[in-house]
Each structure stands twice: as C-alpha cells, then as structure tokens.
C-alpha cells in the first residue's frame, strides 16, 4: 500500500491573548491509498485542527509551527497559498460537520458544485454542470437536475450532507477529510451517509480520514483508528486491535464509558475529571491527572512506542481488556 498522506511531528499552535494553545502538538500518522482512518477524540482534543492543518486552513492566530505533511510524497506544510489552493477541493477534499452551515445559504446547489470544478479545471460550464448532476446521482439523490436548481435550505439535512459528499468526490480526490460528518444527523440518516461514503471510497480507492468523537461509528467503518487526547495521538492501530485490545488507559476508559447491552443497569466505567484546559495542560502526559495508573514517570511526556503494528504514548499500557 502506498502512503497518500504522511503526517509527521505536526504541531499547530494558537497564539491567543491568554497564552499559547497547543491544539496539535506532535502528531504523526500515515494514510494509505484506499484506507479509511478513524481519527477519534473528544472536543478540544485537536482532531479537527489536525484536519484543517493538512489543508492549510488554519486561521490567525494559529499556525503550523513544526512538522511535515507529505501528500503524495511532497511536503505541503506551509506551502504557498497558490499551491494549497490547487490541492484543496481537487486532490484533498473536505466534508464538514454541519451541512446547514457549510453550504452557502444564498447560492444554488449548482453554483456551489460547479465552482468546485471550475476552480480547478477549465471545462465548459455545461460539462461542469453535467458532472455535478452525475455526482448527485452517485450519492443517491433522486431527480438530481431538480436538486441542482434548489437552494440549500430547500433540502433536508441528510440531502445536504449528500451534496457535500458529492462535492467532495467531484474532482476525484486522493484523500477526503471528513470532519464529524454525521454528528448532526439522525441514526437512520447517519447510516445512509456512511453508506454512501463507504461505497464511494471503495469504488474510487480514495483514502479517507474520518474525524469523529464516536468510537462506534469508526469501529464499523475504519481500517485504522487513531485516538487523540489533548493535541497528541495517544494510541494508533488497526481497528480491531484498538477496539478489542486497547492499551492506553484513555482508550480503555473511553471504551468503558460507552454503554452497551453488556453492562446494562450497571455503573459505567468512568474517566474521572474533566477534559483538560488546553491553555493549562499538565506537564508530561496530559492524561495523567485523570489516569488511574499514573505514576511519577508520567511527569515526562511519554515517547511514541511501537508495539507490533501499533503506536502508543504511555508508560503504563493496560494489560487487560477493559469493560468489554
């Protein structure tokens, strides 16, 4: 498998009045062709910032301070804007969380789809329009020609997210970054969206980073899972390994927190404490204050450890399988 994207040592910091927020603080991962990587974390863990960093969409007061983002072998971290523009929406597309907010409310669907093509290719408008129509058909939108003339608010939430997916695939990208694309949707609609995304990645061989806070979603979708906590990937590995045999206490805790049929009526395993304040991270391992296994060693940031196919940042890997 060839790597489409290699991120190494990525650090994206925000320089605010109150201090430096190290939203992403040394992240490494690789996504291969046709692979779906689940990037899992709670709010503020830096998972979305990681996604935006790849596309160079970090706004003031943030910037990538360190690290490399190699896309098809070329480092695009801090690449010139023109270069990034050519890649965005063309080679790497993005799907956002809330389709209500991301589609421009006053522009018709066809405008918003065609411009995505025309921004990268000098094709006749008619061709752009036909490709847009076909793309809508591909994501299962009935009577696409009619939908093309509609405004976003005339479509349901599910429809809008289908449009987003269609736009993401319009230019046959090598990589799609999906940032919580189903969080705002109902269960049955979520299933439809995941279905379409899954189908298209399989058909086109496009790699995908699926950013979510919901482990259950990626459990069924992703090939690999990376778990983020406070700006770092704390555990990374094949989906089965991470879900069934978590090593990091945080992963263990997360999995234990999920209510299932197996622990009905019992108290859930709970991670104590709060998600950390990114302005005042504890020294060393950020999870240590909430960790049952923390020790004095945790005052020093744990290095990345490679265990078989997995990567881990912890001095105290968990032996037993939690909660499950």
């Amino acid at each position: 498998m060839t790597a489409v994207l290699e991120v190494s040592g990525l650090k994206t910091h925000f320089f605010t009045h109150a201090g430096v927020v190290k939203a992403v603080d040394g992240v490494d991962f690789t996504v291969s062709k046709g692979e779906v990587m689940g990037l899992v974390g709670e709010s503020g863990s830096g998972k979305s910032i990681t996604g935006f960093s790849i596309l160079g969409l970090i706004d003031q007061p943030g910037r990538i301070v360190e690290g490399a983002i190699r896309f098809n072998g070329e480092d695009i971290a801090n690449a010139p804007e023109a270069k990034l523009k050519a890649i965005r929406g063309n080679k790497i597309s993005m799907i956002f969380q809330d389709p209500m907010m991301t589609l421009n409310p006053v522009l018709r669907i066809d405008t918003q789809m065609m411009e995505a093509i025309l921004a990268h290719e000098a094709v006749p408008k008619k061709e752009a329009w036909e490709r847009s129509r076909d793309a809508l058909g591909l994501v299962g939108i009935p009577s696409p020609e009619e939908r093309l003339r509609a405004y976003p608010h005339q479509l349901s939430g599910g429809m809008r997210q289908r449009v987003s997916i269609a736009i993401a695939f319009l230019n046959k990208p090598d990589l799609i970054i999906a940032d919580e694309p189903t969080t705002a949707l109902d269960v049955t609609i979520q299933a439809q969206i995941i279905y379409e995304a899954q189908k298209l990645t399989r058909q086109t061989g496009t790699a995908m980073i699926w950013i979510t806070h919901d482990l259950a979603v990626v459990a069924g979708l992703a090939d690999r899972i990376s778990v983020m906590y406070a700006g770092r990937i704390v555990e990374q590995g094949q989906t089965d390994d991470v879900i069934d045999r978590p090593l990091h206490p945080y992963t263990v805790g997360l999995l234990g927190s999920v209510p299932t049929a197996n622990n009905r009526g019992e108290r859930l395993f709970q991670i104590e404490g709060m998600t950390p304040n990114m302005l005042a991270l504890p020294e060393g391992c950020a999870f240590a204050p909430r960790c049952g296994s923390a020790s004095a060693a945790c005052k020093v940031p744990p290095p990345v450890e490679h265990i078989a196919d997995r990567e881990l940042r912890c001095y105290h890997p968990q032996a037993q399988v939690a909660a499950q």
Partner: protein, 325 residues
C-alpha cells in the same frame, strides 16, 4: 405573497387613517396660522374674514370631517400660503427630493460598501482604522454644519461646484430631473454628498460587520476548502450574503433620507419637499403639513413593501409570510 400584500395594504389603510387623525389634530394644536398670513395692516375685520375664508372658524372635528371627505376624493386641501392644492404642491416638489435622496443613496452605496468591504477584510490595517474613524465622524458631525463646510470648500474656495440651487433639468419619462443634465449633476453633487454622509457611515459599518461575520462563517471556510479563489469567495459568497442586510437597511434608510433632506434642502436651497415642509411648519401651512405627512405615510408603506419584496428576492430562505404571526 398575495396575503402578504393584502395584509400590507390593510395595514397601510389603517396607518394612513390613524396618522391622519394624529396629524390633523396635532397640527391644529400649534399656533394660529391666521396671524402668520394676514398682513400687519389688517384689522380685526380682515382677520376674521381670513379665518372664515380658510375655514378655520369651524369646529376642529368638522374641519377634520371635511378633510376626510376631500381626501377620499383625492383632495388634501388647499395650501393656506400658496392657495394651490397641497397635493399638487407636494407632487411638484417631489421629484427634486427623490432625485436628491436617490443620489444620496447611490453615493452611500458606491462609497460605503467598498470602504466597508475593505475595512471588514483587513480590520487591522491602518487604512481600515482610518475608514472607521471617518465613519464615526460621519455619524457625529451635524449635517447642517458639514453642508456649509462643503459649500465653503467646493463652491467658495475652490469654485469647482455651484453652491446652491438645482441647476438645469431635463425630462426623462416625463419627469423633470437634474440627473439628465451635466449642469444638474454638478448642482446635485454637494447636497447629495451632504445628505449621504450619515448613510455612507452606515453602509461602511453594516458592510464591515457583515463581512467580519460572514468571513467567520463555515461556508467561507468550506469554500476555501473547495479551493475557490479569494476573489470569488469575497465577491460571490460573502457579498451575496452581505447584500441582504445592506440592501434591506439601506432601503429602509431611504425613508430617513427623505426625512433628513429637510436640513440639506435648507442649506443648499434645494427646491424639494423637505424645504416645503419646514417652510410649511414655520408658516403653519396646515394643509401642506398634513398632506405631506399623508403622502409620507403612503410612501413609507410603499418603501417597506418594496424592501420586503426585495429581501425575499435576495434571500432565498425568506418567504414572505403568508401566515399570521
């Protein structure tokens, strides 16, 4: 849409009726117009004759009833001062005010929006700060004061533009307008600028706030993620969204331009309705004041209607409410 228009028309009718009561009785509290009109040489008999001639000897409710009766037939009474139908006088002065207000609106848009756009896109740029400071000045300086300064600078000192008056007019679609002649445009420029200063500031601030808000919206980030050029993002994605509040507010402000034209018309001796009104107020020409306000009410109802329809055209999300609140 139908219901919307029907509702508006009903409201308009009610509003016009209410206003006629308020205005008619309100205007009648003020002063005694007879003493404004009769020549100082007139004796008591002359004064009483004048009172009778103007119909002021009747009880106020009877005057109002006569007014309503006339109004129903399109007659809003005759001016005390000019002896001509008040409606005719106002319609005669209306084109001058409208062209002034339209020109001011035009200036506000062509000056205000680009400046607002710039300062919204680059809020930290010194030029933007200058623009914002200027817009505060525009809000804070009294119109009449600025008006005279404009005359002093451009007419007296530099001699570039005429100081006062309306200049040549030409007929366009049967309406006499200064905008059709070069001399007319030279004459209208200063008063229009004076009248628009406040609105330029408003347009700057509205646009700036709109741009700043729009730029932080997800759809802008999404458009960037699609690889769309910055120009297209600003002029298509952002502008289309900003134009909605800007057009709406500026449309509604058109009414206040007409209202404020009183000051500008006084300074620039512009023969419009505003000057007619202030003269009518100062001379207690009641029929003109009442007729002016009646026409204004209708006018404002019309502006509101147009703005609402415009709004629904600009913003695809808005459907004119066919249901009650």
């Amino acid at each position: 849409m139908t219901v919307f228009v029907i509702r508006r028309l009903m409201q308009a009718f009610l509003v016009v009726f209410l206003m006629s009561v308020i205005v008619f009785f309100g205007v009648n509290i003020v002063g005694d117009p007879v003493y404004m009109l009769v020549s100082p040489d007139a004796d008591q008999a002359d004064i009483e004759a004048a009172i009778r001639r103007l119909g002021l000897d009747r009880p106020i409710w009877e005057q109002y009833f006569l007014f309503l009766k006339g109004a129903a037939q399109g007659n809003l009474g005759d001016s005390f001062v000019f002896g001509e139908p008040a409606l005719k006088l106002i319609l005669h002065h209306m084109p001058a005010t409208l062209e002034l207000a339209f020109s001011a609106l035009f200036l506000a848009i062509v000056i205000g929006i680009p400046l607002g756009l710039f300062s919204g896109l680059y809020p930290d740029n010194p030029v933007s700060k200058g623009i914002m400071a200027g817009s505060i000045l525009g809000f804070s300086l009294p119109t009449f004061w600025v008006g005279l300064m404009l005359i002093l600078l451009f007419a007296v000192e530099l001699g570039w533009l005429p100081s006062t008056g309306r200049g040549d007019t030409a007929s366009v679609f049967g309406i006499q307008t200064s905008l059709a002649t070069w001399d007319g445009i030279r004459h209208i420029f200063l008063p229009a600028l004076n009248l628009s200063l406040l609105k330029i500031s408003l347009a700057i601030r509205l646009t700036r706030a709109g741009v700043r808000e729009a730029m932080s919206q997800d759809y802008v980030k999404y458009a960037r993620a699609k690889g769309i050029s910055t120009g297209r993002i600003i002029f298509v994605h952002v502008m289309k969204n900003i134009m909605i509040p800007v057009v709406t507010v500026m449309g509604l402000e058109f009414g206040s331009l007409i209202g404020f034209s009183v000051v500008t018309e006084t300074i620039f001796a512009w023969p419009g309705m505003g000057k007619l009104l202030i003269d009518a107020i100062l001379q207690l020409d009641r029929p003109v004041v009442v007729a002016y306000l009646m026409i204004m009410v209708l006018f404002f109802v019309l502006i509101n209607l147009v703005v609402d329809i415009l709004y629904s055209i600009l913003d695809p999300r808005v459907r004119l409410q066919d249901q009650g609140a």
